[in-house]
Symmetry: C2
């Protein structure tokens, strides 16, 4: 099949139009005289992990932030990189495909060629397997022409998700050396960017000349931290799913007799479910983070939904739409514990048929309580990241089943007096992943691709390309790079066999912040959503006219531009230094000392690690 990669193909009329779309560049990346300004050296967000991270990444931890500025920017310390020798860059798709991935290639390719037409971009064919096997496709204008602004990862393909074992890392290094790569760009999510950081460290240690750059591309939207506001693909996925959810809402309201249970993508975190709820206003959403935080059992969740159904029945409403993230099932404490037991037994080689007899008494009781179809799905072998095969576990059917049983019980008992409860279940997973990317994802990915070039031109290693202030128009976007190690945390408690890797620094999926503004917006509206059917239909993904420039609600309500604000702080400090120069008056010095002493006191107190165990973001 590899021989087919990169072949030209027939595009539909709309695809052709999209292929003609030229994403804009923010002013700072225009032309060939981009300035780089280095900020302060970075630390890890979780100060408790900083020492461990520093020890694990001696060559790449603690590097400064980098900001890319336009040539005319008035920043004294910024430097213009004037030399642009031809360079060779490799690029690999890691992990699940995400709409917009192709545009990272395009942006990087254009930036390479603008700065030196003799530079080379090699795509690895078939993902990390292609990297290990040194199978490449040289990107050319011709090859790329039918992939501009198009979905999927089919220009290069992808296979396994990991570059982690010593064997894999060595194979990657051998490939980079054999192909004489100056840079390797890794496109992926949390896992792949952790791998990229590890590769960068290993390469630096081994004095391999290849610099490694990561790009945040994952439709789950869970690679989120101070430096990274959102991920390529998330916007498209939420828009396509919100369209479908809205269609189902309209359907529910037309027939008025079904409850739709819809399972959405989102494994460790419920970002997609939250965003889709804010876009399409279904009646209810059950976020994994809420369930985990409140330690809700399967029975609690069932009861919550039944109470909602009952409250609506009292208003003579017998329809509704309820969203669930696929990771929900692992957030339910007792189901998680059951899964852990099952996975443990599977890893010991216990056959599927004998597992139920070897469970602990309480796990066995829960297992036997569950309907047969779910039992079968829970018995599937866990994935490489130790989680259950979440796309295969029909949590929506389980909950629909439990709710129906409970409503029937209440009906018999006389506490529920409404009509029969009818549920229809859906899983909205794979049908969105291959979508044409939204304008936002096209632009964001293209700009990130450009930044990859500037990171390599600046000779940086182990950085992730970043764009901040994304809720503003492209001409206000701020471009930079942050060491991946600065985004790492150290997990204190491992999961199952993950205890082996206890204390290993890594990027971890950011979960929905239950104290954040997006969640607050959901809570404020939850009752209206539940009772008033204020369904909102953003419609199918548009590329022109209203809606085409819409951005994710969660992106727009959250505080943003951490990178910009870090720069702003630097400017304040510089200003103090300029005003309080030796020779200034005693009064000025006194005022400065008093004010700064107060500031440092406050900051010391609030940034001391607490023992409450809160994750920092």
């Amino acid at each position: 099949m590899e021989s087919d990669f990169g072949i030209a193909r027939e595009l539909s009329d709309l695809q052709k139009l999209r292929a003609l779309y030229q994403p804009e560049l923010p002013p700072c990346l225009e032309g060939t005289t981009v300035r780089v300004e280095f900020g302060d050296t970075t630390t890890a967000a979780d100060p408790r992990g900083a020492h461990t991270i520093g020890r694990s990444f001696p060559h790449t931890y603690g590097q400064p932030l980098a900001h890319f500025l336009r040539a005319t920017a008035k920043v004294p310390d910024a430097q213009i990189i004037t030399e642009h020798p031809p360079i060779r860059v490799g690029l690999v798709f890691c992990g699940r495909q995400s709409p917009g991935g192709h545009n990272v290639i395009w942006g990087l390719y254009n930036a390479l060629k603008v700065h030196n037409p003799n530079s080379t971009l090699l795509g690895f064919l078939g993902g990390s397997e292609g990297l290990f096997a040194q199978k490449t496709l040289e990107i050319t204008d011709d090859i790329f022409s039918t992939y501009k602004n198009q979905g999927g990862y089919d220009l290069l393909g992808r296979t396994k998700d990991q570059i982690r074992t010593t064997e894999q890392v060595n194979a990657a290094m051998a490939a980079c050396k054999a192909l004489k790569l100056d840079g390797l760009v890794v496109i992926g999510g949390v896992t792949s960017n952790t791998d990229a950081a590890q590769l960068a460290e290993t390469f630096a240690e081994a004095k391999c000349q290849t610099k490694v750059v990561g790009v945040p591309v994952t439709l789950n939207g869970d690679l989120k931290n101070q430096f990274v506001e959102t991920n390529v693909g998330f916007d498209t996925i939420c828009k396509v799913n919100s369209q479908l959810i809205s269609n189902v809402c309209t359907d529910a309201l037309s027939a008025e007799k079904y409850y739709y249970f819809i399972r959405l993508m989102g494994r460790k975190a419920s970002h997609v479910a939250l965003e889709c709820t804010l876009q399409s206003h279904p009646n209810m959403v059950v976020l994994g983070e809420e369930v985990a935080a409140s330690k809700l059992t399967l029975f609690d969740i069932t009861k919550q939904i039944c109470d909602a159904v009952q409250a609506r029945a009292e208003q003579d409403k017998y329809h509704g739409v309820i969203l669930l993230p696929e990771g929900l099932i692992e957030s339910i404490p007792e189901v998680y514990a059951l899964l852990q037991e099952i996975h443990g037994l599977l890893r010991q080689g216990v056959s599927v048929d004998s597992i139920s007899s070897q469970l602990s008494p309480w796990a066995s009781a829960l297992f036997e309580f569950l309907p047969p179809f779910i039992r079968k799905q829970l018995l599937l072998y866990p994935e490489s990241d130790d989680s259950a095969q979440l796309s295969q576990i029909e949590t929506e059917k389980l909950l629909a089943h439990l709710v129906e049983a409970e409503i029937n019980r209440r009906l018999k008992e006389g506490t529920y007096k409404g009509k029969k409860f009818n549920a229809i279940c859906h899983f909205f997973g794979y049908q969105a992943r291959g979508s044409l990317p939204s304008k936002f994802d096209c632009d964001y990915a293209y700009v990130l691709g450009h930044i990859c070039y500037h990171i390599l031109a600046a000779g940086l290693n182990g950085y992730m390309a970043t764009v901040t202030n994304l809720k503003s128009p492209v001409n206000k976007w701020k471009c930079g790079a942050a060491p991946i190690t600065a985004m790492m945390t150290v997990k204190r408690y491992g999961r199952g066999p993950g205890t082996l890797s206890l204390g290993k620094p890594a990027l971890h999926p950011a979960t929905v912040d239950l104290k954040g503004k997006a969640y607050e917006l959901l809570r404020q509206n939850a009752t209206k959503f539940l009772m008033d059917d204020i369904y909102r239909n953003p419609g199918p993904l548009q590329f022109d006219g209203p809606g085409a420039d819409a951005k994710a609600v969660t992106l727009c309500v959250e505080d943003q531009d951490y990178m910009g604000r870090i720069k702003q702080l630097q400017e304040y400090l510089d200003k103090v230094r300029t005003i309080v120069k030796p020779g200034c008056s005693q009064d000025v010095l006194k005022a400065a000392l008093s004010a700064m002493s107060s500031v440092t006191d406050i900051l010391s107190v609030i940034s001391t690690p607490s023992n409450s165990g809160n994750t920092p973001f």
Copy 2:
């Protein structure tokens, strides 16, 4: 819940833009001086049924076709209806919601008000139940403003699908009389339009003044005959589904390790599956009509798919996309027979648990062979139209299961040498039904709404509104009306308990014509689709730019404009009459007689009913 009908609501930006869209009218419907030309009296397409239909519909069978022409059209016999007294019209949504239904209301409302501002349009709330209970909502500009060009049936809602029993028909008549309706417009598919014809006949018999008009609105696209080229909703459904299928194709090509089995809507006929295949070029489609025509068993279908998987594996391809219509399961002869036995037992009141023990030996053998999840689904009580609960039967999972088992067998045997077979299943049903309607469906529905008015203004009863030449731009569309009875056929062999209604004339779902041009196009491309992955991505439904004006492939390849061609024939006949007037030369008369004798001979031969049992279209 009824109190919520027709309330204004928040629209998204895209919905607002769509609400501003004003569908065009073909020139023949512009202004208030539309001419009506009556064509020849109609017969039924199946001459064998004509007598039965005529006997069942003495008042409404054999009425002429009606063509609506512009005031300036040079047609001698056409009449302009000059009187437009205020009239009262009721409108009811019947059956499953279909995108565009709202625009029929809008078109009718505008036509009513243009001709007489004192006319009244009443919508029945909650479908046929609302008709029986005389629950209405008067349509006003204000009420309709947020429903223009919007999906769903939520302005009025819908409930039961039938107006058929004596009690129901009487309730409908009582409503029409009580509300002093001049017209009743029934919006729906095959079943609802049959009911409309029956109502029209009953009303005429009872001298009820209300005229009944049907409108072909059904997303299945199976209300198709000489007069009706396509149905409102079909275009949108196929576009939304093709978008999702294309996304899945891109996904398959990116990961190269999954076969996707996708079940689509389409109960008695596979029009949606055929159209989506022609739009998005998946690897394979299994049409119910092919299976029925070739009497393929479950094992034959499994083998066909396995052979395809094997052929692709030989080219190192381990991914693919396979479409199935939801009605497929009933097309498989042995499964159909099993379902008939099960439904018979269910109707006799046999409990679900005892059914398997009461099946005939061979049916029992098949039943026990099937995996448990399918057994449970086959045991569901049949729907009101005697078909199985097709939306609940996961045919895609059954076939994926059987294909996997067979591939594993071949692997063991050594005949299949490829990698492991992995299947992922999807049902694309409800997520398209509530979509914003495509431009085509907005226009088509709006024009049909206008035609309803002209049918009523001409005093016609038992007609369906028709638009032909739909593949051309709106300004070439031809508007008319045909008696519903002319579209009826008489089924010779009843199904199960349907034998009671043996010989009762009705509209029947048109199945995919295996000799038609659309199917031929599929066959010509089947091998390329299967082997070459020439996936085509029409992209999400657009309302502007490329793709926004795309029409269904099946609509564009089929012969069209039957109504137009019938008119053309009339013109030829008139011309002959004009040329061969008394007083013409002997030679002219001789030539005319000779030619006409030959024409009539040929036509007599080819229009004599054959006994081969072919359905006429």
